[in-house]
Assembly symmetry: C2
Homo-oligomer: 547 residues x 2
């Protein structure tokens, strides 16, 4: 019997992982990998950091080369080769060598499609200007590096994960950076509250953010490229980086008649097989199941891509021992100067848009023992099913420990844990690392208190002047940073001043972080008041004092 021929289209995350795992499972298979770009298996998540110089040496980004894949994996990797067409009937792929322009049919027994996704580039007047860039691969990176220098003006369109990384790194390189963001806040993958500290940090670092706006046309001028915004503003740029989203590269799959999802991604089963069982697909171009509700979802992230490639190889070569891909959570994180922000699972706005019921609990606490030097506040929000208490998602922002809490909650969500369960997670505690009651436990406690009707939380200060706002912070803090319309009764004085609060009007208790206002609401509730507490405190209010 001839050895199996495995053909892989796309050699970055999913494709390279698939090829490596396939070789480990089968020494005899003939494995050919075809990559349109110059490089295989490069560190695409590292690209922005070499632009800014934080990763000083370019070579570290080229994780593998065709030569090393040959040496280590006996894989025939061909770069600058583009797959043009799949002939499923004859199980072969037409491949063009982009250097020689020679076309060749490569046969396969099994095919892996890992074409990835390309940065979205809107067709706008003037958008063919060479100063307008996108960032997908090392060649894009090299062009951006060559085009940038200290003192230049950069405009970054789109404030998602990549846009924020690019803004940070271009500023690091000494450019004057402006961000244009179509939506009302940066990092639109998260809920609005999480963006407040990010926008502050961007401002502190001199990065202007133009929200609710977008570039509508480019115009080459004397002093650079003028970006005309929908608002009428004009931003002069020496370089523009477009990071407004991506499009899955599914032309090859579509032309071959493979089933695609509603938004154009390649449909796969839990073993990453497309509608043609001899063709697998993985990575940014596929649609998988959301891990929380099982809904169709496409998640363009390195972790899922790598593991999907592995699942496909296992299914092909391990047979019954192969385990299915459990779906994607969409766990993601970004560093923006001193801050980190991230998400796992569902956000509030996504739940709202889907019409799904949810509870949300926002807490603030220190990343390790508050009395240990260096303690930093972080904000954590958890989303949960009001019926079962099951966790649906989590978001966090802060300077330290954000990744850890997202990882714990990603694990908890994958395990179908409830808010009750996370109360009793026994996390590693010593003063340099955590707290006896970690913020994850605290979030669980707070959500349980809400579910047990011990507290009623509001997410914003009331507009209704009929509501009494009681600020339970200390007098000095309340004087220095007063809450409009609030009366200050510090928590320790509350029990002795109940007669100063009108029992016939609803009360909202507020404090800096949301803890003392909860304590106060317990005192008031047990004394017969109709009381709510401002969840997360003034710290996480949008557009109010206390920020």
């Amino acid at each position: 019997m001839n050895p199996m021929h495995i053909l892989v289209i796309g050699g970055v995350a999913a494709g390279a992982s698939f090829a490596a795992r396939a070789r480990r499972l089968d020494e005899t298979a003939k494995i050919t990998l075809v990559e349109r770009g110059n490089d295989v298996s490069f560190a695409n998540c590292g690209l922005p950091y070499h632009i800014g110089g934080e990763i000083p040496v370019r070579d570290v980004l080229a994780v593998q080369t065709p030569a090393s894949l040959k040496d280590l994996l006996n894989v025939d990797a061909r770069t600058r080769c583009e797959a043009l067409k799949i002939d499923r009937d004859n199980k072969r792929v037409l491949v063009r060598n982009l250097q020689t322009l020679h076309d060749e049919w490569l046969s396969y027994d099994k095919l892996m499609l890992a074409p990835g996704a390309s940065p979205r580039m809107p067709s706008l007047p003037g958008s063919d200007d060479s100063r307008i860039h996108t960032l997908r691969n090392l060649a894009d990176m090299d062009r951006i590096i060559a085009a940038t220098g200290s003192g230049m003006n950069a405009v970054v369109a789109g404030a998602g994960f990549i846009g924020l990384e690019m803004a940070e790194q271009l500023q690091r390189k000494g450019l004057n950076v402006k961000i244009v963001q179509k939506g009302p806040y940066v990092l639109p993958q998260l809920d609005a509250k999480m963006a407040v500290p990010l926008e502050k940090t961007l401002a502190l670092h001199g990065i202007g953010v133009y929200k609710n706006d977008e570039i509508v046309r480019f115009e080459s001028g004397k002093t650079g490229l003028a970006c005309h915004l929908a608002s009428g503003r004009k931003l002069e740029a020496d370089i523009v980086v477009m990071s407004i989203g991506i499009e899955p590269e599914t032309g090859l799959a579509r032309d071959a008649g493979l089933s695609l999802g509603k938004r154009g991604h390649i449909l796969v089963n839990e073993f990453m097989q497309t509608s043609d069982p001899d063709i697998y697909a993985a990575g940014d171009a596929v649609e998988t199941a959301d891990r929380v509700f099982g809904e169709p979802v496409s998640v363009a992230l390195g972790g899922p891509a790598n593991r999907q490639g592995r699942v496909a190889a296992d299914h092909l070569l391990l047979g019954e021992k192969a385990r299915p891909y459990p779906g994607s959570l969409g766990t993601a994180i970004v560093r923006v100067f001193d801050l980190a922000a991230g998400v796992t699972g569902w956000t509030e706005k996504r739940l709202k848009a889907a019409g799904r019921p949810y509870g949300i609990t926002t807490v603030n606490d220190f990343h390790h023992a508050s009395y240990f030097p260096g303690a930093q506040l972080l904000t954590l929000a958890i989303l949960w099913d009001p019926d079962s208490g099951a966790l649906l998602g989590a978001e966090a922002v802060g300077t330290e420990g954000v990744d850890k809490r997202l990882d714990v909650l990603a694990t908890a969500i994958s395990a179908k844990m409830t808010v009750e369960d996370i109360c009793h997670l026994e996390l590693a505690y010593a003063p340099p690392f955590g707290s006896a009651k970690d913020i994850v436990n605290i979030a669980g406690f707070a959500a349980c208190n809400e579910r047990d009707s011990l507290v009623r939380t509001v997410s914003a200060l009331p507009d209704d002047s009929g509501v009494q706002i009681i600020d339970v912070r200390g007098k000095a803090m309340a004087d220095a940073d007063p809450v409009p319309g609030a009366r200050n009764i510090p928590l320790p004085a509350l029990r002795n001043n109940l007669d100063k609060i009108d029992r016939n009007r609803p009360v909202v208790t507020v404090c800096a972080l949301g803890k003392n206002s909860y304590f106060a609401s317990r005192v008031l509730k047990q004394n017969g008041f109709d009381v709510s507490s401002l969840g997360g405190g003034l710290k996480t209010q949008i557009g109010k004092t206390g920020q």
Copy 2:
């Protein structure tokens, strides 16, 4: 009806948490808290760090005072008061004011026992010397601070969590520190392999560690206190800190006829009720269920103590809404200079001692993307059930990211996840925070490979000269740091050199971190060799080269 009288014995972690939660659930109860020491609710985990000056201000350790407990919680907290006797028939406790020596009966409707545990102090010749200290509370800390100064000699007996923190902090204060450790390695709560880097770091910081030894008598000499060791060695000390374990303070409970466990801890049910349903107990003095197997266990840690106090208050005052304490994992971590080391769940030696079957997988990888500046190696071992694959425990050591991986695995163990499940944890990845395949995923992959019979792992280099050791590292590394008895065939050259390996003798492949040796073993296995891979690589070998 008179308000309920809740009496709390012990005012640090469990007792204070119980009192605070009880007040939040019941404004009307009379709550009295009796504490033998000078302080309530102090930060006991912070004590070593104030001794070393890392926590510069003492006040931050006194989290609450009797006055603040009165103000915030309307709790009557009485320090320097010792409970002498429980009269269960009449539901009252005899309490002595240690300042006035006045005795008083305090009645209770519900009683909470949170007496904690005291440092073990063996009765040795000379052990009444005032230079011999233990560390439990602020007064102990103050005495140690007063007794220590730069240039002095300190001996720390016991290299567990507290002993290592004390050694680090005394060194920080400028003392010459020696550690005497009864067992064969430091941090005996973990497995031996994890101690190797810790012992290196202690040595680098000039701390001598005397292993397999113990103090047998003290002798006051001209130049200090002589500590005579079982080995015959003599260590001169200006101060000795005993940190050789703790004893639960259960005299009061025993005298009252409450049921105790085999090792003398107070027995409680899942709602922290003792054998007398009107008496709760929580914290270091109680025995609860181990969270993995449900075995009786006593875990003296701040996190469990706080949450147990909360569970008891919920059971007393929330009724049916109260949720049981799910048991303890024993998650613990310690910082030793630049390193962190910790554990969650069961270790290999505990599983061995209990005669339980287990698999162990040890992996080394970087704490975040290897190409991102600052990437640090960490070592992670996971223990799992060979039948179901369920996680039983995890240990980690390294400079960065140890706490995060322990927390993820503590969560996974609590959720009864398997090694298969952790393959697909979708953890937060951006180059500054993690890797597309996190070391937790990698540990899952490696364990699954073992369970799927793709690899056979050995935990130590073979002693048998009949076994061929193939070192697959690069030639330069193999030449610089050769493995005794090994032949060097770098991985890329392996496929072309199969004829140089004897097919009739077993092979063990080795490399630095355990990854390339696995890759090599796959090549060899599929080519018909009887091959094993050295798990975790040379990095985690004890007493062998490669460290």
